[in-house]
């Protein structure tokens, strides 16, 4: 008798699955998205059709997809994980040929009704394929060098493809997401120690290679890192973003200036005021309290993910849930750090709040997996 058949009777079927959804999680996601609608409405100066309305439509669509995915047994998603990964890699390879160039980077594929960023899709695909791998892998082999090298390759392949677009932020998120799944799956600490050491060496190497013919990053990426380390060195160029976003955040105070009362974003100081830098508006209009509330919502989402994962005896489901939660964590942690001047400007959106279809869709698909794992978890 298989592992699955053993539990089949305890797993809900048909429409009754609705009762077994992780509803608190869905509500929290909606709450965060609503914060986003409010902010987009405010940033557009009260023009609902500009950003808020398309965002609401896309969120509704995404929620539909999430609920639909939750109805499908987690086993199905397990089965297609490998295909999802291969499909994602194929799209990444194809992007330079069929993609659209924006801001000097080829990242988008135009699907008519929305634009798709294959690199976004890849974040989920990597989590899925690694969860599948460790679900399949024998317990005793988890920390053996060969069986560790394999998932590393699975991570590095898309990472380098994304890096080549070039999209440093997403590449780092893919790598981090994959590494966390490996970590949770039980790979020995030693490997992580070695990995961290080699990353330090690599970064040193990257900087050493600057201005040589082996230069490894684009000039603007160097510049961003440099201005991160010393924002005053270029207050009008790359440092401009950080300085301006800190001014906006800082002027909010404890409770902010009030909804629609922000002054800084309305003056268009930040070109990405509705995307990557939307948190500044929240900070200016709702102050410290507003920022903390959003942070708390994010934290609760993580808690519900992890509780679901820990109560799930299906290894694939647990790993996917934790992987998705962690990816989500990286999104908002990196974005907020960047906006608050704790990290370089790498172009990561604030999840479910920033304007943009691709990231929101992929996140809700990912939470669809989490819901499916939750509904169909063996009890």
């Amino acid at each position: 008798m298989s592992y699955l058949e053993q539990n089949i009777r305890t797993i809900p079927t048909g429409l009754s699955k609705v009762l077994y959804f992780n509803w608190p999680l869905a509500l929290l996601l909606t709450a965060v998205a609503c914060t986003g609608f409010l902010m987009l409405y405010s940033v557009s100066g009260g023009d609902i059709e500009r950003w808020a309305q398309p965002q609401i439509i896309r969120f509704a669509l995404g929620m539909g997809v999430m609920i639909f995915m939750a109805f499908i047994p987690i086993n199905f998603w397990r089965e297609i994980s490998a295909f999802a990964y291969i499909f994602g890699i194929a799209l990444l390879v194809a992007v330079p040929y069929i993609g659209e160039t924006r801001g000097g980077a080829q990242r988008w594929i135009d699907l008519k009704f929305m634009t798709l960023q294959p690199s976004e899709l890849m974040k989920v695909a990597v989590v899925m394929v690694l969860a599948l791998y460790y679900d399949w892998l024998d317990e005793r082999r988890v920390s053996r060098p060969f069986w560790v090298a394999l998932p590393i390759l699975l991570i590095l392949l898309p990472t380098f493809l994304v890096l080549g677009q070039p999209d440093l932020g997403t590449a780092l998120l893919i790598m981090a997401g994959g590494a966390i799944v490996m970590f949770i799956a039980g790979v020995s600490f030693w490997y992580f120690g070695i990995a961290i050491l080699s990353i330090v060496l690599l970064v040193t190497g990257v900087f050493a290679s600057k201005d040589t013919e082996y230069q490894m990053l684009k000039d603007y990426q160097y510049k961003r890192i440099e201005t991160f380390l010393d924002p005053s060195s270029d207050p009008l160029g790359s440092g401009y973003h950080i300085t301006q976003s800190k001014i906006a955040l800082g002027s909010g105070g404890l409770t902010g200036r009030g909804f629609m009362q922000g002054t800084q974003q309305r003056l268009n100081f930040l070109p990405e005021k509705h995307t990557d830098f939307i948190f500044t508006t929240l900070g200016e209009e709702f102050g410290f309290v507003g920022g903390i509330v959003l942070l708390a919502l994010y934290g609760l989402i993580l808690i519900f993910c992890y509780v679901s994962a820990l109560s799930n005896r299906d290894r694939f489901g647990s790993l996917v849930t934790i992987g998705v939660g962690t990816t989500f964590f990286f999104y908002f942690a990196v974005n907020m750090s960047m906006v608050m001047g704790l990290a370089p400007v790498v172009g990561v959106p604030l999840p479910l709040v920033s304007y943009g279809g691709s990231a929101m869709m992929v996140l809700l698909i990912a939470f669809g997996l989490v819901q499916s794992a939750h509904v169909h978890r063996p009890r």
């Binding site: 317990e139 039980g186 009008l236 800082g250 105070g253 962690t326 964590f329």
Partner: protein, 632 residues
């Protein structure tokens, strides 16, 4: 296939590591919260200062004002670059020495130097003050070449509004001038441009009524300023959008001719295309030069304009309202015909006056006209005929007909102070004068005296409606930025065409038949026959005693007590193209003074009509689209 069951070690490890991971993440979230608190709460004061003390400031880039053209595409208002010299006190060291040096290169008077120094001492050191304007390019070049010797001096480019037709369009276009505190208190416009010192806005006419489209939208320049507000550097800019171009329905040639023909009289004339309501000429005399206002009018000129009894600042064509006199008789006639109170052939005996309740109402011809029918009553302008019929028609019917023909109602024109005129009713008198309507009021109203008031524009509309049989409405603006304004009032009047024809025949008789009051102003060109009506409206009340002594001749009276001379007409009579109204204030008789003027203008209009189609706007007109900042 059997999957390996892994309940043991890995399961435990997953739980442990997840908790570890969650702990790490909680730590990072905590750090973010702390940083948020540091920025938003602890450093709030300094950041708020940065945000509000305008570390990064915005400066407006004023848009270039839209241009105004006539129907032929001739520019009526455009912008001329104005080279000027600005000076920043704190950069110049010793301002007076620098100004003296500057005076050797460009023409600045001693007076200018004193006032510039005064202005600079009043303002903060970094504020630029204009020390000279309206300079030639050569002067600017000379100043630039000598820049090292002139610290704090910068050549700048501004714009002047130019009205090339000067007096001819003063009342239609109005003029622009610097925004005043009074302007700001009168408007709810929150455009930040209005807060720029000496920003030019429309003060009168089209310039005022189409202010917003003409003004355009300001651009924004983000600049970094230091704590006292001095500009450090420009961070970025969003260009301004120039104002919309406006095309009027006026024909500049006819407008000029009309103004010339009115000459030195205090008069107004309106020419309207009866087919679509286009006002092709709208003149009010005397006029003034709007260009003087743009550059700041001198006190002498201002006083001269204000004390002139001919009121040159007033647009008499729409703001002046006059008793229409006999030109109103068409209204009474049509009201009578419509109500069935009279038929065109019914005759009334005129013995020179009509006696009613012991009061005599006189006809203008002392001996009377004898028996007159409708046709004769118009042709010879018999007053008694109207005294007689109006008693039956009643004021309410007359008033309703006046409104149907456009008198005493509002017309939407893009001009300020467009007056409604007055078509009086019993109710109106009760409300406004707190008195009962008496039959004598009706008699006076029937010949366009008493309470009835109409502007020259309304008289032109009335004539156009009679001529076309439609409720055509006046149109002054053809298009704003090529978006055409619609023609209004193509629907037919609520009047029997047979009645209209009877009245039109009478009007034809006025000009073209023996005994007609305007026989001297006939147009003799085949097919251009004019139909019209004279009017002479009294400004004073003639007492019984005066009449017994013999009415004093107009020319013996002081100017402001003389009669108004009026004439309305349309032509060609059988296929109307234009309607015209001429009002000469205190000019005397309608047939002697107003009709010849109207005839000449009508002739000119018909001659120009061959070539009066709208032309597209030229693109090469100097719009002053280049911006001052780009040169700096």
């Amino acid at each position: 296939m059997k999957r390996p069951v892994k309940p043991g070690r890995l399961r435990q490890m997953l739980t442990r590591r997840t908790i570890l991971l969650a702990g790490l993440q909680a730590g990072i979230i905590g750090t973010l919260g702390v940083q948020m608190r540091r920025i938003a709460v602890e450093q709030n004061q300094s950041f708020r200062l940065l945000a509000e003390e305008n570390r990064v400031n915005i400066r407006l880039i004023p848009p270039v004002r839209g241009l105004v053209f006539d129907r032929l595409g001739k520019p009526l208002a455009y912008n001329e670059p104005n080279y000027k010299i600005d000076m920043v006190r704190e950069q110049s060291g010793d301002p007076e020495t620098v100004l003296r040096r500057l005076a050797t290169i460009i023409p600045i008077s001693e007076e200018d130097i004193t006032s510039a120094l005064q202005e600079m001492s009043k303002r903060r050191g970094f504020v630029p003050v204009t020390v000279a304007e309206d300079l030639d390019w050569e002067h600017i070049a000379a100043v630039s070449a000598n820049a090292p010797a002139l610290p704090g001096i910068t050549p700048e480019l501004g714009h002047y509004r130019i009205y090339p037709q000067a007096d001819d369009f003063a009342h239609i276009l109005g003029f622009v001038g610097p925004v005043s505190d009074y302007d700001l208190s009168q408007t709810d416009d929150d455009d930040p441009l209005l807060l720029i010192p000496r920003f030019q806005i429309g003060k009168n006419g089209i310039e005022r009524r189409i202010e917003k489209p003409l003004r355009g939208k300001s651009g924004v320049k983000r600049i970094e300023v230091n704590s006292i507000g001095r500009v450090m550097r420009v961070l970025g800019r969003e260009e301004s959008q120039p104002g919309a171009n406006v095309q009027l329905t006026i024909d500049n040639r006819l407008q000029r001719y009309t103004m010339e023909r009115l000459g030195k009289e205090s008069a107004a004339a309106v020419v309207m295309d009866v087919r679509n309501g286009d006002i092709v000429a709208m003149a009010s005399a005397p006029s003034f030069d709007p260009n003087k206002f743009v550059r700041g009018i001198s006190t002498t000129d201002w006083n001269a304009l204000n004390t002139d009894i001919y009121k040159p600042m007033l647009n008499k064509a729409v703001t002046g309202t006059y008793p229409p006199g006999s030109t109103f008789k068409m209204v009474t006639a049509l009201a009578a015909l419509k109500g069935g109170f009279v038929k065109p052939d019914d005759k009334v005996y005129c013995g020179g006056f009509l006696e009613l309740h012991n009061r005599r109402f006189h006809c203008w011809r002392r001996g009377g006209h004898g028996k007159v029918n409708l046709h004769d009553s118009l042709k010879e302008s018999c007053d008694v005929y109207y005294y007689e019929i109006s008693q039956e028609v009643g004021i309410e019917n007359i008033s309703a007909m006046a409104k149907e023909l456009g008198i005493g109602v509002e017309h939407e024109l893009e001009l300020p102070a467009v007056r409604e005129g007055l078509a009086p009713t019993k109710d109106w008198k009760k409300r406004r004068r707190d008195a009962d309507w008496v039959i004598g009021d009706t008699l006076n109203a029937s010949i366009g005296q008493g309470f009835v008031l109409a502007s020259p524009m309304q008289l032109a509309v009335m004539t156009a409606r009679i001529a076309s049989g439609t409720k055509i409405s006046p149109r002054l603006v053809n298009a704003i930025d090529n978006r055409p304004h619609p023609v209004k009032g193509r629907e037919p009047l609520d009047i029997d065409p047979a009645h209209l024809n009877a009245v039109r025949k009478g009007m034809y008789g006025v000009v073209n038949e023996r005994g007609g009051t305007a026989g001297g102003s006939r147009i003799r060109k085949e097919g251009w026959d004019m139909a019209g009506k004279t009017g002479t409206s009294q400004v004073r009340f003639i007492t019984k005693e005066e009449r017994a002594r013999g009415v004093i001749r107009n020319s013996d009276l002081p100017w402001e007590r003389r009669d108004h001379a009026l004439f309305v007409a349309y032509a060609p009579a059988d296929n109307p193209r234009f309607s015209i109204s001429v009002v000469v204030e205190h000019g005397g008789g309608g047939s002697a003074v107003a009709a010849p003027i109207a005839r000449d203008i009508m002739l000119e209009a018909l001659e120009l009509s061959e070539d009066m189609d709208y032309r597209s706007l030229p693109t090469d007109v100097r719009a002053g689209r280049e911006r001052p900042d780009d040169k700096a």
